[in-house]
Symmetry: none
Subunit: 174 residues, 4 copies
């Protein structure tokens, strides 16, 4: 879809500040009305743009080595956040989410939940203390990188990702 592509390009090139409906329409060669016909606003466009990129959430592999499996997924997440062009869409979506409750729900249900469920599924099989709350367990893996990314409190490297996994595992496992 030309509109979603235009939105992604604008975000990658110039950031959220220059992502205007008019700019999207102009770049996509489309009338503004067409955009408003199909999307409620900028937030909805960004969400669809993100989903279309097809990070189609796949179940985590179960290699038998929990740490290895988690390292893979956390490294991937951290790497995406670390690349400004890749994370531009996520950043924009986060902004919209913060002042749009309806959008926030959709993002939660369509983007976040599937990702978190995929990790939960892997955690369920991997050996960990039975009393662990899986929701909180997932947040232990995702929350810290997200926090660091948003607030730029530290580097987002593979080593960091590994450290996050190790800490989390120490919490999960007996």
């Amino acid at each position: 879809m030309a509109i979603l592509t235009a939105a992604r390009e604008l975000l990658a090139e110039a950031g959220y500040a220059e992502l205007t409906i008019e700019a999207i329409a102009a770049r996509a060669g489309v009338g503004k009305q067409t955009i408003y016909r199909w999307w409620r606003g900028k937030g909805a466009i960004i969400l669809d743009a993100l989903m279309e990129t097809g990070d189609n959430v796949e179940p985590l592999p179960d290699s038998g080595d929990l740490r290895a499996d988690l390292v893979a997924v956390v490294r991937a997440t951290v790497a995406e956040l670390a690349d400004p062009r890749l994370s531009a869409t996520t950043r924009a979506l986060t902004i919209e989410t913060l002042s749009n409750d309806e959008l926030a729900e959709q993002v939660r249900d369509r983007v976040l939940r599937p990702q978190m469920e995929a990790i939960k599924d892997r955690l369920r099989t991997g050996p960990l203390r039975p009393e662990i709350n899986l929701d909180q367990a997932v947040e232990l893996l995702i929350g810290p990188p997200y926090h660091r990314w948003m607030l730029r409190t530290g580097p987002l490297t593979d080593e960091y990702a590994d450290g996050v996994v190790d800490l989390a595992l120490a919490a999960f496992q007996k």
Copy 2:
């Protein structure tokens, strides 16, 4: 300062969407120029509004009971995030931060670092495994609630705060 009060009130009453420089000026009974004379933009105002509220970061108490001390601080953090009126300013600041690198640095240095340092200081004395990276340890306590708050993936209650602390402690301590 009338301007910062006006900003806080507008955020509490109507949210970020209606926080405009003109609205702040009107409510504070001030000319727009006066605002621009002292602040670079909306973000700087919000930052000052937040800091003025005087959550002057104090060192965490050291009761000898690490869990109790951490529960206190995490519960307080979670409670503030859970209250829409209290967290409105933080929310607005987060939005600005996401599209303003300069502001992001200031927020990191003036708001976040002190809070995280305070927790780090307590962690340094409380008994935990020596190889723990303190920055990551703090993120383990703060990141998950922040993530949950921003993305509304679950309730922000005292029980949740306690769970976060327990998980983190399991990671820190041998």
Copy 3:
């Protein structure tokens, strides 16, 4: 024709401002394309709507009393202009005419000329000074009411109509 009826109704009910092609199509239960297939634009529709009303111009009666015959036709004209609902179509057509030369020619030839010719025909037989230019004579009867209607400079009553005729006759006759 449903389309012309719809146009007339819209004009009578809401005036030129709300006469849009889309409104006409919607009210007539017709696709926009069907309208464009048969008419060049709004102006052409209004013209046809006006003509269909069938003020089929008839020759003026020649009762032998020139004043009586002219009073009849001028009163009728003035009465139609005085009624907002009746003159709505004429008003709309005038607007279109003013910014559409092609339409202006058609209006002149299909609407105006016949009406003026009818009056001219009666003037030819009625006793008047031979050197009178008939075109100007007709304008002397029609121009003032039209001017008064368009610019709302005075009432449009039967008495007024009679006054117009009397003045004109004073000019025509020796």
Copy 4:
């Protein structure tokens, strides 16, 4: 005033169809809001543009020769109507007037009445039949040229102007 000049130029160059608020703003180097701050809409701008041109209505001269005095004023009126560039503003104002009652009143009071009063004043002194209604008398001079201009039913020349005056005088005078 740059805005009124821009409006006049656009009308002279391209006609009413291209007289948009945005075009006026662009040509005048002005924000749209500035226009809306001072004028209610296109009609009000055109009215002011017309008035600024300073056709400051002056009393008709009284040379003692009524025909000569009227010929002068009617010729001038007809000449202005005949020149497309000069009459573009009047044409545009007429269009607006036709679908804007409020504006119509202003045009009547600020533009038309003074012009008509000036002619009435001259008619009052010039020798004419006492029972003549002066309002209708003026319309007899102005209405026909206006009608001919709007509906393009004939040429607008000096000879025509003279003919109008002669017919009117025949009506006025004994």
